[in-house]
């Protein structure tokens, strides 16, 4: 049924109605749009620019541009509620009415395309002002006066616009004409609804249908009986992007449930940061109040997350980073005793003793999913000075290690990046091949980008090798789940080969969360060979934020660890690694450093409390190679310290003092190792130019199925130490399960 709805949804996108046509025009007007299409369009019919006068200011626009957009070009902002530049145009709030010369009635500027030369628009005339006042009065007639207890208070479009454009008095007589009251809906643990406040802009409905691809929200009734709802009662939204409708809602009808009644926007401090819960590198701003993390909001970046944010990134750190924190150093005095609280001095001395007393070849360090590049540099320097090369990036033990690049592949960045780049998915992709990935949950915003391209007919051919029956929010062709399909394609025997050959830009995405089977596949090599043979773009879809930085710095994947059974003393330094089946060598001194005590902290002999991404300045590199940094929004709790400083302090006590004391000095060192790691920029993406030598032959192996770890939305919510500690995420799991049960969907 879902497939049917998705298809019907696309049909509307194909329909050359005014709305879609407008969207096409808008895409041409934007620089981020398809280059190829732009040039071809320019060759065919170069659109003549039309003159428009906005408040007597002349602007030249392409035909089809709306008045509202033309006004924006002229620097005039027209008030709006329903219009949103990333959603289709609804034109139902009427707040953007403007006067157009020679038109008797005011015109809704968001839906009015400019088709005529010399149109004169007045955005400040008495008629426009009166129209706005009238709309405002009607909106406020049914809007409750509960701003003092409304969570949107202070960042409410209705508040702002009624101040700026509303009338100074109301003619409403409540005694004669009572206000409308609407029952609240339960739509899951993330979004709280107070439906009486709704002004029916339908932004949420359009977002869920168009971008999130979850057709649960809709409108019923008409006129003053119109309601936004889920048609059925108590329906949790089955979407990983539902938190965005809270940002979209111009009033307080949809607010964040975990954040309800906790803070006011004017009390918050915002710090720009980067999300680390997946490898997309979404730009976020972290809102804090008096050293307390209150909420996380997306920050606009067209190249990465546009203005959306996945629910896990938005909600998990807010309460997940407040539970089970490592806040004091702990030490196990002997193997048989329990972990005890201690001072930093004792903990560091114990680590220093271990680093001095154990053979360098028997020392290992493994970094986990949230570790910043600075820590990795310092750790690697420390281990190399001691004489150990065993610094690894953690690879979950339940994953197929052969879908990861091996250390010999790490010489070329192109071998392990998302080379097409996220925005590049909209840029003339003829064929998209997804291998062994449930991209919807591994990187929700990349999937949203693919859906956007698919809806706009920029990607029309999508094929999947992997789990059957995944709901990816777009139509795709299922090719099978086995590496045999890959081998067939490489050998040129598969039906998709023709399309691959024909495609000018074919994009292949290999997942990094493929479950381990009895025998190893050689998925990575095979996909590389496939790309080399057909000239397709090779992409790895990383699941962890630290992966690319680790590979850039030459850390090996931990699947290449060599552990033996000897009883000689060894050392294992884990930084934020949580894995139930981690191999810990016999007679090992385990150091656990991190911010959350989850699984592996229990096995540790020393626990060094580190800081989370909201508490430190650190370099994170996204899957496409974008070098960004997190900034410290709050201080680490109690005795916890920044991770690189802890490693630096250990080096001092181990008598291998490292030659840097400040973050700047660490970054200078980082620049020596990998110069691009210090060129932080949210906007610019440096693409590697070196091409790896092509792989021509792949060894034949028995077919193995490539199944991603995450199957359905139930698996999405709790995947790492932060989200496992988050009560909100637990509620999401429960409500999703309940909803799946109700709808009879297996999970």
């Amino acid at each position: 049924m879902l497939r049917f709805v998705a298809a019907s949804c696309k049909r509307t996108a194909n329909n050359p109605s005014c709305v879609v046509w407008l969207k096409e025009c808008r895409r041409h007007a934007r620089t981020s749009g398809s280059k190829q299409q732009q040039t071809s369009a320019a060759q065919e019919t170069k659109p003549k620019l039309l003159e428009v006068f906005i408040d007597e200011k002349k602007v030249l626009v392409e035909p089809g541009t709306t008045i509202l957009e033309a006004a924006a070009m002229a620097g005039v902002e027209i008030p709006r509620f329903c219009y949103h530049e990333r959603l289709s145009v609804a034109g139902n709030c009427r707040m953007c009415l403007v006067e157009v010369e020679k038109s008797i009635k005011p015109v809704a500027s968001c839906a009015m395309p400019i088709m005529m030369n010399g149109m004169k628009v007045k955005t400040n005339s008495p008629m426009t002002k009166q129209a706005r006042e009238g709309v405002m009065e009607f909106l406020l007639m049914n809007h409750p006066l509960d701003c003092p207890i409304c969570d949107q208070g202070g960042e409410c479009d209705l508040q702002d616009q009624s101040m700026a454009f509303g009338s100074d008095r109301s003619r409403l007589q409540v005694e004669l004409d009572p206000k409308r009251a609407v029952e609240d809906k339960n739509i899951g643990p993330l979004v709280k609804t107070i439906m009486t406040r709704c002004i029916h802009c339908t932004r949420c409905v359009r977002f869920m249908n168009e971008i999130a691809g979850c057709e649960d929200l809709g409108t019923t009734g008409r006129g003053s009986d119109m309601q936004i709802g889920t048609y059925l009662e108590n329906t949790a939204l089955l979407s990983e992007l539902s938190g965005n409708i809270v940002d979209l809602c111009p009033v307080g009808a949809l607010t964040s449930k975990p954040y309800a009644f906790t803070a006011r926007p004017w009390e918050l401090r915002r710090v720009d940061s980067v999300d680390v819960l997946d490898a997309v590198g979404s730009n976020i701003s972290v809102c804090t109040r008096s050293g307390d993390l209150m909420r996380i909001l997306p920050r606009e970046n067209d190249a990465v997350n546009e203005e959306w944010l996945a629910d896990k990134s938005r909600h998990a750190p807010v309460d997940g980073l407040k539970a089970q924190r490592l806040t004091v150093p702990l030490l196990r005095p002997s193997k048989s005793s329990q972990l005890q609280m201690c001072d930093w001095e004792d903990a560091l001395l114990a680590v220093g003793r271990a680093l001095n007393g154990i053979q360098p070849s028997r020392m290992e360090a493994i970094v986990g999913p949230f570790v910043d590049a600075e820590t990795m540099v310092v750790l690697k320097d420390l281990f190399n000075t001691i004489g150990s090369e065993n610094v690894y990036l953690h690879v979950d033990s339940d994953l197929d290690k052969s879908c990861f690049p091996s250390s010999k592949d790490l010489d070329f960045q192109k071998n392990y990046l998302f080379n097409t780049s996220i925005a590049g998915l909209e840029d003339g992709v003829d064929l998209l091949l997804l291998i062994g990935t449930n991209i919807r949950f591994e990187a929700p915003l990349v999937n949203a980008r693919i859906r956007k391209a698919w809806r706009n007919n920029l990607i029309n051919d999508i094929a999947v090798i992997g789990e059957n029956g995944l709901d990816l929010l777009y139509d795709y062709e299922y090719l099978g789940d086995s590496t045999k399909v890959l081998a067939d394609i490489v050998a040129g025997k598969h039906k998709i080969v023709d399309r691959l050959k024909k495609a000018q830009k074919a994009v292949v995405i290999l997942g990094q969360q493929i479950l381990k089977k009895d025998s190893d596949s050689n998925a990575y090599e095979m996909v590389r060979a496939l790309c080399d043979k057909y000239g397709a773009e090779f992409n790895l879809l990383h699941a962890n934020a630290s992966t690319v930085a680790a590979f850039d710095l030459g850390l090996k994947p931990s699947s290449e660890r060599k552990t033996d059974n000897s009883d000689e003393q060894s050392l294992l330094w884990l930084i934020g690694v949580d894995d139930e089946n981690l191999t810990i060598p016999n007679n090992s001194f385990v150091i656990y450093q991190g911010h959350t005590g989850d699984i592996c902290a229990n096995t540790a002999d020393v626990i060094l409390p580190g800081s989370a991404f909201t508490e430190k300045q650190g370099t994170m590199i996204s899957m496409e190679g974008r070098v960004q940094q997190t900034l410290a929004a709050i201080t680490p709790p109690n005795m916890a310290r920044e991770d690189w400083k802890i490693v630096r302090a250990c080096s001092e006590l181990a008598n291998y003092p490292l030659p840097y004391d400040t973050l700047l000095e660490v970054r200078e060192r980082m620049q020596q190792l990998a110069p691009h790691l210090t060129r932080h920029s949210n906007r610019k993406l440096e693409k590697p130019s070196l091409r790896p030598p092509p792989i021509s032959s792949v060894s034949a192996q028995s077919p193995v199925s490539l199944l991603p770890r995450m199957k359905s939305l139930v698996d999405y919510w709790q995947t790492d130490a932060i989200s496992r500690c988050s009560p909100t995420m637990s509620k999401c799991v429960l409500s999703t399960k309940k909803e799946f049960d109700k709808r009879g969907i297996k999970y």
Binding site: L321, Q324, V328, Q338, L339, G597, N602, N638, M639
Partner: protein
């Protein structure tokens, strides 16, 4: 205190403070305390123990030297006011902590109060 006065020594308390009386002076000035030399300038009114406080403030005319107080078992020893020193009383927070500490699976309960 800080004046030249003559009087009879009535008694000495457990801190070594000396209590004097001379009825030649006007009522209100006829009883006074001379703090132990050890405290030097760090003298403080709270260094007067409760029983002498009564006599010094005319709640009673009988000094504890002649009429010692009844000692009940629930009485705790007098201490001076330690505010501003490192022995000061700090009330513990009754508010739920914003961040909870991880507890190892097997081990003592780890507590850490934010100071």
């Amino acid at each position: 205190m800080d004046t030249l006065k003559f009087g009879d020594l009535v008694g000495v308390d457990k801190y070594g403070n000396k209590y004097y009386q001379n009825n030649y002076y006007f009522y209100g000035k006829n009883r006074w305390v001379e703090y132990n030399d050890k405290v030097f300038f760090d003298y403080d009114a709270s260094q007067v123990p409760a029983e002498w406080h009564n006599w010094l403030h005319y709640m009673t005319d009988d000094p504890p030297t002649t009429n010692p107080r009844v000692q009940y078992k629930w009485m705790i020893d007098h201490t001076e006011n330690f505010s501003g020193t490192n022995r000061q009383y700090v009330p513990y927070s009754t508010v739920k902590q914003k961040i909870t500490q991880w507890q190892p699976k097997d081990g003592q309960k780890i507590k850490y109060n934010v100071k």
